[in-house]
């Protein structure tokens, strides 16, 4: 696709500030604030620029309160920006045109969109009417989604009685029934167990393959970002501190490698011997040891390991991207 193709999402100089008042702790502070209020502008987004093309999945990471959710809510039209320009598929989100709303979707892991007192089946029927999905398309989409997420058994159970994992799957179906062109995923796997996390992730990947929507994903689980996104935006105090390819960042910031060592039979280890100069032990499980080592000192570290330990097998591997991002965020904190 040529790069001059109309950008699906174009954000320039976007700023959002919230006005909050400062309150000192305790009753005294409360009384003070009652009569004299000191207002401060809390900057949630500070002149950010972003362009996303069709089919891209962007991972948005940052600490709590960095501005991730604010950005997603502005892009989906829920809140108004303070200043700057936002265009999604050519629409200004906060104008909330029906044609715009029909083509987007937002999934918030911490906020239920489904009506708790209804079974999923009824919720989906309601969404069918809301999005005016033709009967045949609805049936086909629903059958596919229900099958892919394996929830046919619990379709007529009230949402409130479902497990968190089942509920999240229903939320995904609800969000994708109308085949949105832009999907915002805000912490889609939060609180889920490993199996459910994986199911959700696989499903999102599958949906992306088939429909090529734009996806913006925020998550605390680096595994989500690693598995789903190709592009990474790191946000800190309302500013983008990194925006680029996930692989590039991984290569650029792969400062460490991991050395997995299997010890020889009957090898007794003197704990003092594990305090090596060039590497640091990060995990020990029986005769398996895992060292973290500076990428430039792998040879030196290996020499040292062979010299001090009785080794039966050794394997050098790249540090996990998830850890790299995590480190990068810590550094920028």
């Amino acid at each position: 696709m040529h790069s001059s193709f109309a950008k699906m999402i174009k954000v320039s100089q976007l700023t959002k500030t919230y006005r909050v008042y400062k309150k000192n702790p305790g009753l005294k502070g409360t009384l003070q604030a009652l009569f004299k209020r000191e207002w401060i502008d809390k900057v949630a987004l500070d002149h950010v620029n972003l362009q996303i093309e069709p089919g891209e999945i962007v991972g948005l990471v940052g600490a709590n309160g960095a501005g991730k959710t604010t950005l997603v809510k502005i892009l989906s039209g829920i809140i108004h920006p303070t200043s700057g320009d936002v265009k999604v598929m050519g629409y200004t989100p906060f104008e909330r045109k029906y044609a715009f709303r029909k083509q987007i979707s937002l999934i918030m892991g911490q906020k239920a969109q489904l009506w708790w007192d209804l079974p999923a089946e009824d919720c989906f029927m309601l969404l069918k009417e809301i999005y005016e999905i033709p009967e045949d398309v609805y049936k086909k989409n629903l059958a596919h989604l229900v099958d892919a997420l394996d929830v046919s058994r619990v379709m007529n159970i009230q949402i409130r009685r479902l497990s968190l994992g089942e509920r999240m799957k229903m939320e995904l179906i609800a969000a994708l029934l109308h085949q949105p062109k832009v999907v915002f995923l805000d912490e889609p796997t939060i609180g889920l167990d490993m199996t459910a996390q994986k199911a959700v992730r696989d499903f999102i990947l599958d949906y992306r393959e088939k429909h090529k929507p734009i996806m913006i994903l925020t998550s605390h689980y680096m595994e989500d970002i690693k598995q789903l996104a190709k592009r990474l935006v790191i946000i800190k105090d309302g500013k983008f501190v990194y925006d680029g390819d996930l692989d590039t960042i991984a290569k650029k910031h792969h400062t460490h490698k991991l050395i997995n060592v299997t010890l020889g039979m009957n090898a007794e280890i003197d704990p003092n011997k594990l305090l090596l100069k060039h590497s640091e032990i990060i995990q020990r499980d029986g005769d398996l040891l895992k060292f973290k080592v500076d990428a430039n000192e792998v040879t030196a570290a290996l020499n040292e390991i062979f010299k001090t330990l009785e080794v039966s097998d050794v394997k050098v591997e790249e540090e996990d991207i998830a850890d790299v991002i995590e480190n990068l965020m810590k550094r920028n904190r």
Partner: protein, 262 residues
Amino acid sequence: MTKYLKLYSHFLKFSLSNSLQFRFDFTFRILMDCIFYVVNIMFFKVIFAHTSLLGGWTEEQVMIFVSAHLIVDALQMTFFSNGAWMIPVYINKGDLDYYLLRPVSDLFFLCLREFALNSFVNLIIAVVISIYFLTTSTIDFEWWQILLFYLLILNGSYIHLLIRIITITPVFWTHSGRGLEMAFWTLERFAERPDTIYKGWLRYSLMFILPFIALCSFPTRILFGESLLEVLGYCIGISVLFTFVARFLWKAGLKSYSSASS
């Protein structure tokens, strides 16, 4: 339009299946409202034990008015109240998000989602009461007067909802529990009395600022040979004007909606 009718049929279906789950609660609620009806009627009966005219209206005129008020109340309880009750909660908790994302009118969804079957039973009772007072009255009515009377009552119930929304919108800025809605429920009691008793600035305030006398007083006037154009013009004018005011304030509120962070 068909879309909204279809949606409403779903709302009805869901509400009906939910409301019959708790039979005792259901019956009690109907009984409570019946007590409310009896008290309202008794109140005026007591007054008319001491006087023969109230603000120029006779007892049978006031009784028809009371039945109009009971219908307006039952209508808003049946169609709007349960939905509208949640709006301030949604604004404060940031739960308005999903309503804003859907390609459908957010206020339609929020106000009409809950249909109260128990109040619908009360609505039927209220209509029966009004038919009783109309048929036992010594006044002669034309059929079109009666038709207009009921239509304007529907309009009155709509105005009731509009004023309520207007008093809810401050929640967007103040983040207080219910905004001015509590004041609304207090002031709403002005609607429980015939408008003829209000004079001067109070009357003007109740006609144009918080138009509570457009809910059931003016609709009742249509039966008593008042100027048709005046009554119709006023009632419809108020509902059009307040539709704009409510929409304007709602949109302004949404602009300030901060959607509590997750």
